[in-house]
Symmetry: C2
Subunit: 466 residues, 2 copies
C-alpha cells in the first residue's frame, strides 16, 4: 500500500520525511543485520505530532514502527513497509532534579550523554548497554536495556519512574510518578519497559538517579576450571560484596582475544573473570583483599588488581576487544544473550561446548556472569548454507538447554523478530495468549510495530541479511 504522504507531510513538515530509496535504505537495518525497508521515515518534533501520525495510521490502516538509534540486536525497530517514526528530534534533557534525584528526558537523548550530564551533579544513571555511546534512552526503555552493571545496579526498568507516551490509538497519556513509591492503578510504566515499541511511543521519560559511587577498584582472576570461577563468583556475593561488574570470558573467548591482541592473556585458562567493585573509598581495599582471598580459595591461578587508571584500562582491554576480535575469525555471528541462574553457568558453558563440537561450529561465550547473562556467539559465514543451517539447529538446542536450566532466552536483547519463533517456549501458550490480549486491547488494528514479538518469523534464521 502507499502511505498518505501529503497528510504525513502536513503533520511533520516537508523537511522531516524521507521517501527516496537511498534515504530509506539508511533506516532499513539495526544491529541484528536483518534488513527491511520502510515506505517512509518521519521525524516528528513532539508528542502532538507523533499522536497525529498514529491517529492517521489508524485512520488509513498503515503500520508505524517506532525507531530510536537503531542499535537493537533483534530487529525490534525494523520497519517492514509502512512508516518508521524516528524519535531523535525529541532529544532534550528537560530536567535534572538533584535533590529529588530524578530526571526528565525526551526519548532521543543518547544514554551516554545523559550519564555524563548527571555525573556533573555527582549523580549516577547505572544502566550501561554496550551501545550506550549511541543508543537512546527511549530505545533503552522500549527494550529494557541491561549491561554489565546489572548485577549490582539492575536494569533500565529499575530506574524508570514514569512516562508520557502516545498509545497505539493515538491518545497521549502520562504514567507513573516522580517518586520511588506509587501504586495508583496498574503499573503501565513497567509494562512499557521491554514492550519493544508495540504498545506505545514514549515522548517523555522520568528516571530515578542515585548518588555516584565514590571510587572503583578493578581486578581479574584466571581459573583453570569453570566450576572454580563460578564458585568464586558465588563466594564473593556470599561475602556480602556485590561487585558492580562480574564479567566472564570462556576459554574460546580468551584464545580469540589473545590471538587478536597478543597481550599475554592466560590462554590455557578455562575462565577469566573481570571484577569491579565500587562504593565508599574506605571499604574498597578491604573488599579487594576479601575478593582475592575468595578467588584463591576457589583455586584461581592468577589474580591481578589494577593499581592505576592505566592498569585498569589494561584489564578492561581484553573484555572490550572481544567484538573486534570475533570479527576477525568469522564474518558473521548469531549473538544470543541467554541468561541462567549463575550457579548454572558451568553447565551452560559445557553444554555449549558440546553443541559447538556436535555442529562443527565456533561458539564463543562471555558476558555478565554475576547475573548469569552469558552472551553466546555462534560464529558463522552466512554465505555458507551448511554452516547457517547448523547454526540454526544449534540455536534451537541452546534454547532448550537454557530453559532446562531454568533460564531465559533473553536477558537484555529482547524478542523483536529474531526470537519471535521461540517466545512461546519460554512464556507458554497461556502467557503468550495473555500478552496478545493486552496487545489487542491497546492496539486493536495492530498498527504499532506489527510483525514483532508475537508473529513467529524465521527470516532471522533463514536469510535476508545486509
Amino acid at each position: 500500500m502507499s502511505l498518505p504522504f501529503k497528510k504525513i507531510r502536513s503533520i511533520v513538515g516537508n523537511e522531516n520525511i524521507l521517501t527516496l530509496p537511498e534515504d530509506l535504505s539508511c533506516y532499513s537495518f539495526d544491529a541484528s543485520k536483518m534488513r527491511f525497508v520502510p515506505e517512509g521515515v518521519a521525524f516528528p518534533a513532539d508528542a502532538a505530532e507523533i499522536s497525529s501520525l498514529v491517529r492517521l495510521a489508524n485512520e488509513h490502516r498503515f503500520p508505524v514502527f517506532p525507531r530510536g538509534a537503531g542499535s537493537g540486536m533483534v530487529g525490534a525497530c525494523l520497519a517492514r513497509g509502512g512508516l518508521a517514526i524516528v524519535t531523535n528530534r525529541l532529544n532534550a534533557i528537560l530536567e535534572i532534579d538533584v535533590d529529588n534525584m530524578t530526571a526528565v528526558v525526551e526519548p532521543g537523548v543518547v544514554t551516554g550523554d545523559f550519564q555524563k550530564a548527571v555525573a556533573k551533579f555527582g549523580l549516577f544513571y547505572p544502566p550501561d548497554p554496550a551501545s550506550l555511546a549511541f543508543s537512546t534512552i527511549g530505545g533503552n526503555v522500549a527494550m529494557c536495556a541491561g549491561g554489565p552493571r546489572a548485577v549490582k545496579y539492575g536494569v533500565t526498568r529499575d530506574y524508570l519512574l514514569g512516562l508520557e507516551m502516545v498509545l497505539p490509538t493515538g491518545e497521549i497519556i502520562r504514567t507513573g510518578t516522580r517518586t520511588m513509591k506509587g501504586v495508583v492503578g496498574y503499573d503501565l510504566t513497567r509494562l512499557m519497559a521491554g514492550s519493544e515499541g508495540t504498545l506505545g511511543i514514549f515522548t517523555k521519560i522520568i528516571l530515578r538517579l542515585i548518588p555516584a559511587p565514590e571510587s572503583v577498584r578493578t581486578m581479574t582472576a584466571a581459573f583453570s576450571d569453570l566450576d572454580q570461577a563460578v564458585s568464586a563468583i558465588c563466594g564473593i556475593l556470599r561475602a556480602r560484596i556485590i561487585p558492580s561488574t562480574l564479567e566472564l570470558m570462556d576459554q574460546t573467548t580468551i584464545s580469540v582475544v589473545e590471538n587478536h591482541l597478543r597481550i599475554g592473556l592466560p590462554v590455557a585458562a578455562q575462565a577469566l573473570v573481570l571484577i569491579e567493585v565500587d562504593g565508599p573509598e574506605a571499604i574498597l581495599d578491604a573488599q579487594v583483599a576479601a575478593i582475592e582471598k575468595v578467588c584463591q580459595k576457589s583455586g584461581a591461578d592468577r589474580i591481578e588488581a589494577a593499581r592505576s587508571e592505566a592498569e585498569r584500562n589494561r584489564l578492561w582491554q581484553a573484555r572490550r576487544s572481544i567484538s573486534p576480535a570475533l570479527g576477525r575469525i568469522r564474518p558473521g555471528k548469531i549473538n544470543e544473550d541467554v541468561t541462567v541462574p549463575r550457579t548454572k553457568i558451568p553447565e551452560l558453558v559445557r553444554s555449549i561446548a558440546a553443541l559447538a563440537k556436535k555442529y562443527d561450529l565456533t561458539i564463543v561465550c562471555f558476558g555478565h556472569a554475576g547475573d548469569g547473562n552469558i552472551h553466546t556467539n555462534i560464529m558463522l559465514d552466512r554465505r555458507d548454507e551448511s554452516e547457517r543451517r547448523r547454526a540454526g539447529k544449534a540455536v534451537e538446542e541452546l534454547f532448550a538447554i537454557v530453559l532446562g536450566l531454568e533460564g531465559t532466552l533473553s536477558g537484555e536483547h529482547g524478542v523483536g523478530i529474531a526470537k519471535s519463533p521461540f517466545i512461546e517456549l519460554e512464556v507458554g501458550a497461556g502467557g503468550l495468549d495473555a500478552m496478545r490480549k493486552i496487545k489487542h486491547a491497546l492496539d486493536p488494528l495492530n498498527i504499532m510495530n506489527p510483525g514483532k514479538m508475537f508473529v513467529p518469523d524465521r527470516s532471522f534464521l533463514d536469510g535476508s541479511f545486509v
Copy 2:
C-alpha cells in the same frame, strides 16, 4: 445470587469452605475498617483448586475476591457478596537458593516469617510494610507493599522476579524469570505488582534477595523548622549517603506521642527525623558523623545517636508508638499515604496544617520522608456526621494539593475501594481507559475482584464501617 456451593465443596472439600454468617463476618473487613460480607469463603490448597474455582466462577458468573491476611488499608480484598478465596493454605517457603540469592514462596507466607527464614542464611528481603508480622507475601505483591526502607531498598516490585498465577479466566501461567535480567515478552510480572487482585491470583512467587547489611546505626534529629529538616534530608543524600530509614514526625505527631509516652520528646520542634544507616561496619561511624554535620549545618536543635541496642529501641519508641497514641485522641482516622517529591514535603505539611485549621480537624503527618511518602492521618469520630463530612472535604482538597505538587495519591496503600473515586484525577481519562482495557482483555466477565480500582465508590467516605 447464590453460589454453587456443592461444586465449590467438591473442589476444596467440605472442611475448606465457610458459609455461616458468624464465620463470614470474620472475613468481612480489612484494615480500612470498611465492611462487606462475602457469601462464602474458600480455602483452596493449591493452584489447581484455585484454577477450578475461577473457572467455575466464569461458568456460573459469580465474583471471586482474592484475600491474603486482610491487612490492606483500602478495602482491596473485601468481598461484596460472591466468593472470597483465601490463600493462607498456600504457605510454604518452597526454596531459598543462597548462591543465586532467590527464593520461591507460596502467597500465604507471612512476610516477617520469610525475612527471618532468609536471615538465617545471611540474606535480606528488604520490603517492610508496617503489617509485616501478619501480612503475607501474596498480598504484598498484589498491593506492591512499601515501608520505611524503600528510600534505600525500594518496594516489593523491586524484589519480584516471577510468578505462577491463575488468570481471571482460570488458566495457570508462569511469568518472569529466576534472574535479574529477562526481557522475553511483556513484563506481566511487574504488571501484576500492585494489580490488587484484579488480574490474577498468585500461587508461587519468585523473589530476589540481597546480602544482609553488616551493621546498622540509628539517630534522631529535631528541627524547629520544617524546611531545615527537609534540607538536612536532601543534604544527607547529596553527601552520597542513602539511609535505610528517614522517618519524619511533624509537630502534631510529636505532641500526640509525647502526651501518650511522656519520654521527653521535643514538643516545641516542628519536625523530628529518625535516621538509620546500614552497611559495612567500617563506614558507618563516618556516615553518622557526616549526617550529624549535615543536620547541624541545617540547624538541628538536638541530635541523638544510639550507642547501644537499648538506646536504639528508645529512639524507635516514638515512631512505633504513633498508632497507639493516635487511638487515644480520636476513635477513627482516615489514613492517607500521599507521596510527593521530597523537596516538596514542607509545602505539603504546611498545606495540610492549613487544611486542618480550615476544617477544624486534627491532622497528623508522619512517615517516610526520604521517599516523600507522608502518612496523613485525619483524625475523626465517624459517629460525628459533621466531622465526617469535613474530613471528606479535607481529603479531596488534600489530593488536589498533592497532585499540584507532582505527587501521587498513594505511595503504598493502593486504590481498592477507598481511592477508587479519585484514581482518574491522577492517571487521567486516557490512562484509566488503558487500564480498563487491560482488565477487560484479561477478565472479560469481570469475575475477579470487581468493584475495585475502576468503579468509583464513595462508601469509604460515606459510611459502612465496622
